[in-house]
Amino acid sequence: MVAFGGWEMPVEYSGIVAEHMAVRTHAGLFDVSHMGEIEVRGHEALRLVQYVTSNDAARLSTGQAQYSGLMYPQGTLVDDLLVHKMADGHYLLVVNASNQDRDFAWIREHNRFDCEVRNAGDAYTQLAVQGPRAPAILQKLTETDLSVIRYYWFTHGRVDGVECLIARTGYTGEDGFEIYFAPGESERLWNRLLEAGREDGLIPCGLGARNTLRLEAAMALYGHEIDETHTPLEANLGWICKLEKGDFLGREALARQKQEGVRRRLAGFEMTGRGIARDGYPVYVNGNEAGYVTSGSPAPFLKKNIGLAYLPAEFCQAGRELEIGIRKQRVAARLVETPFYKRQHKS
């Protein structure tokens, strides 16, 4: 046995499997205050957001959010993010913690518009309540009618007296909410939510379960499926590339790639042999090394060992047999449709 490698709290509370199952069947509470927030405000805020991101923010109504990519000119990703339209001329971007400073510098560098970009990470903390019981639990602490908030919409309201942005978003493949508020109240709200949700089976969840949940839902993680060397088209994120919306960073590169054909793609697999694929392991097709695993893990709800891998596009059909190089062995796997897990209950 050696060191347990690079993990920081809160990786887990009661155990990744228990936390994962709680979110699928009841509810889990995540402290995601590390996520970064960037505000864009001003007359031409929309133009800046449109220019640096790949999705079409012009389609957003006030109170609506969208998943998008922060783009490099070569069509690859600076980061992935959520764009919230707070009002005309006011957008809140939620980005990955580790990329926040780079994202902020990048957006500001491209700001030739009449608007202001503010690094607002210190102004917000974020908690996520996820799982089929999440709406009922959060509803106990707010007078805001949560049932009218649709998926990827948000509203302003008070949760246990604290002014919050309440968004029906998440990173688990379940229904649920992400709430943003001033940091001073985070510990109290965390405890109040746990109390309010106890009888519904709400438990605290760490980054370990967050990772296995998002992987079952085949949601990308920056640094794994997406990075500065892969385009959203390769990552099966063509739906966030709105080439017809007008000029934006990376648009030409994406249009060219679309025209020439995407040569490598992200594909989902499950192990059919005995072994667990992990990040970085090689993938073999017809006996030849053809790609690598971007994320691999046991899937606690599906009770399978699953993963995502980049492979030449011509190999990416569900049902194709592969091998994963696990230490000195090659272990059988098969490509499957993604997401691996899709929730039954609708929000």
Binding site: M1, W7, E12, G15, I16
Partner: protein
């Protein structure tokens, strides 16, 4: 959980317990706690030989992969097949039913170079302080 005084321990979090002319080898309670939910084990075959500190298997939890090192120079005489089928037992009884392998030692004197329970507990306490800094 307490660390049995009749076991010897390594800084890599294995334990070894003498049983007549063979010894059982396992991983410590501290190790299973750090790994979290254990889901997979790779163990050697009966007859395989290892020198001290050589990797003899792998243990995987949901979040991590770790090598298991042989605490001593030895030959494998038994493998816990029940545990391979139910790796989660390692989270429940790491110092007892969840032994990994039984070995024949090449040289009992090697045990003297390993940690006592008291030394091991002091070692993990020290490690915890370091990682807090």
């Amino acid at each position: 959980m307490s660390y049995p005084p009749n076991y010897r321990y390594t800084r890599e979090h294995e334990w070894i317990r003498l049983e007549n002319d063979t010894a059982a080898v396992g991983i410590t309670d501290h190790a299973q706690e750090q790994l979290g939910d254990i889901v997979y084990l790779e163990l050697p075959k009966v007859g395989d030989r290892f020198s001290a500190t050589q990797p003899l298997g792998m243990v995987e939890s949901v979040k991590a992969v770790s090598e298991i090192y042989s605490p001593v120079t030895c030959e494998i005489v038994d493998v816990n097949a029940e545990l391979v089928a139910h790796p989660e037992l390692l989270n429940q009884d790491p110092h007892g039913a969840a032994w990994l392998v039984k070995v024949r030692l090449a040289d009992r004197a090697e045990l003297d170079g390993l940690l006592s329970a008291e030394q091991y507990e002091a070692y993990i306490a020290e490690e915890a302080v370091k990682s807090d800094k």
